[in-house]
Structure formats: structure tokens, C-alpha cells
């Protein structure tokens, strides 16, 4: 199970994971990027899939402003084969991800952040302090919501302000922990 969830103001734990091509990706050092976003997602969950395009739009748009995005799959692929590294690679090769899609095979990253569901969004400021966590927006079933909470959090942190809301409840499938 997850440990305590990261709280607003906490410095994010170190995170370095491999993408589907074996390349390692890490959070930037403090001051290297104006903001970073770590998003737990996966292949088999309808909530993650329903929000997926909205999230990829944010990745494309805010990457141009220097924001670093890491999308992480921590699910137990033995129990949920749809979340295997091979299945992750297939989606990347189809062009479904606008940024690196990382595998968390021992689930340590999910535990360290206290991630609970897919999707689950963590927005960090330039000093890697948590400024927003929760859902991308208020309704998985309404694309017009356009990831408004995630966008709002990024707009705030890029303007040097505190996001409002700073936390929302993550909505989605539970992360599939190893038994």
C-alpha cells in the first residue's frame, strides 16, 4: 500500500525511472525548471484513458514553457498484464504519449509520493515543492473541462502564485499494489 501522501509544501522525493526505451528520466534539480509535473497513469484504467488526451494536451502546451512532465505507471503488471512494459511500449510507439512514460517496477516512486489512483497528478514548483495534487479536473466524463485544475495549478506556479485549489481528491482506479 501507499505511504502517506505528499502534502502541500513538501519537497518531492527523488525520482528516477526508465522510460519504455530504457532511458532514465529524473526530476530536474531545484531551479532547473520553473515547474515539474508527475502524473500516475496506466493502460487498463478507463479514468486514465478518459483523461489521457486532456493530459497530453497539457504536456505539449506547457513543455514549451519549460515545464518537465513525467508520466509514471506503477501498477503490478503480473496481476494486470495490460500494464506490462511491453504494453506501455506499444502505446508509446503508437504516439499516444507527449512525454516520457516511465515504469516503476518496484512501486517505490508511487509509495514515496503517496500516489493513490490513476490518474493522480502532482505539480511541483521550481524548488520541487508540492503546490497541487489530485485530479486533472472535475469530471472524467467531460472533455470540455480541459484539465482545468492542472492548467490552473501550472498557470499559478508559473506566475509565482499559489494554486487554488491546491488539493483535490484523485479520481480513478486504485494503483494495483503488489501482493
Amino acid at each position: 500500500m501507499s505511504q502517506d501522501r505528499l502534502s502541500i509544501g513538501d519537497v518531492a522525493p527523488a525520482l528516477e525511472l526508465e522510460d519504455t526505451a530504457g532511458e532514465r528520466h529524473a526530476l530536474p534539480a531545484p531551479g532547473e525548471a520553473p515547474a515539474s509535473v508527475v502524473i500516475w497513469t496506466c493502460n487498463h484504467c478507463p479514468y486514465a484513458l478518459a483523461w489521457h488526451e486532456r493530459i497530453q494536451d497539457v504536456v505539449r502546451e506547457y513543455s514549451e514553457r519549460g515545464v518537465v512532465f513525467l508520466q509514471v505507471n506503477s501498477n503490478d503488471a503480473e496481476r494486470y498484464p495490460g500494464d506490462s512494459p511491453e504494453a506501455m511500449r506499444e502505446r508509446v510507439e503508437k504516439g499516444e504519449f507527449a512525454g516520457p512514460y516511465l515504469h516503476d517496477p518496484d512501486q517505490a516512486a508511487a509509495r514515496a509520493f503517496g500516489a493513490e489512483r490513476t490518474p493522480d497528478v502532482f505539480v511541483l514548483d521550481g524548488d520541487l515543492r508540492l503546490v497541487y495534487s489530485g485530479a486533472p479536473d472535475a469530471d472524467y466524463d467531460d472533455p470540455s473541462q480541459n484539465a482545468a485544475w492542472l492548467r490552473g495549478a501550472l498557470d499559478a506556479v508559473l506566475a509565482g502564485e499559489a494554486p487554488d485549489p491546491a488539493t483535490t481528491d484523485p479520481v480513478g482506479c486504485t494503483i494495483k499494489w503488489k501482493e
Binding site: H44, P46, A50, Y80, P143, C173, T174
Partner: protein, 109 residues
Amino acid sequence: MGAPRVEFLWWSECPSWERALAMLRAELEAAGLDPDGIEMVEIADEEQARERRFPGSPTIRVDGEDVQDPGEAPIGLTCRIYRRRDGRVSPLPDPADIRAALERTKGAS
């Protein structure tokens, strides 16, 4: 023929079940059927999922027929992926699919 048998199978870890149930109740009311007649079936473990051929939460069956063919979806404790009629992926079935399933039972009676 009486009212159709309507089963609602759900797993508590998938949050869309309450919204799907409200959708089903609304469609039953619109069809002049009693929403209190829904058979609620909570799926709590893999054994129950296998016994009930559960392709994910929520699943709605009308006279034993799924409102959307689950195709090759694996049986087990999972949240169900629906394809809405506009092409979107969703944790919720399309209301029109529920309506069509209820209509089919009228045609069969």
C-alpha cells in the same frame, strides 16, 4: 411478459458506479419501469468476479444481456472501459446503450 430483469454489478474501488446507477435508474424511469427493481450485485473478490463472468465495474445486464458487448475484456476485478457512441473512452456506459437494451426487451415481449 413482465418487467425485464435488470442487474447492476459493481466493484466499490471504481468510483463511477454511483453515477452509472443513477443513469440506469433514470433510463428505467423514462421507460416506465421501476428503478427499485434493479438487482444490485456487489463484486468483492476475484472468485465472485469469475463466477459472475464480471468484465469490470460497472456492468449492467438486461435479461442477462450486457448493455454493451464486453468483447474480449478479461474477467476480473477491474474498472470497465466503455466506448461511448461518440467514440470517447469512458468509465460510464452510453445512456443510449442502456435505452437500447431496455427497448430490446420490449420488442421481445
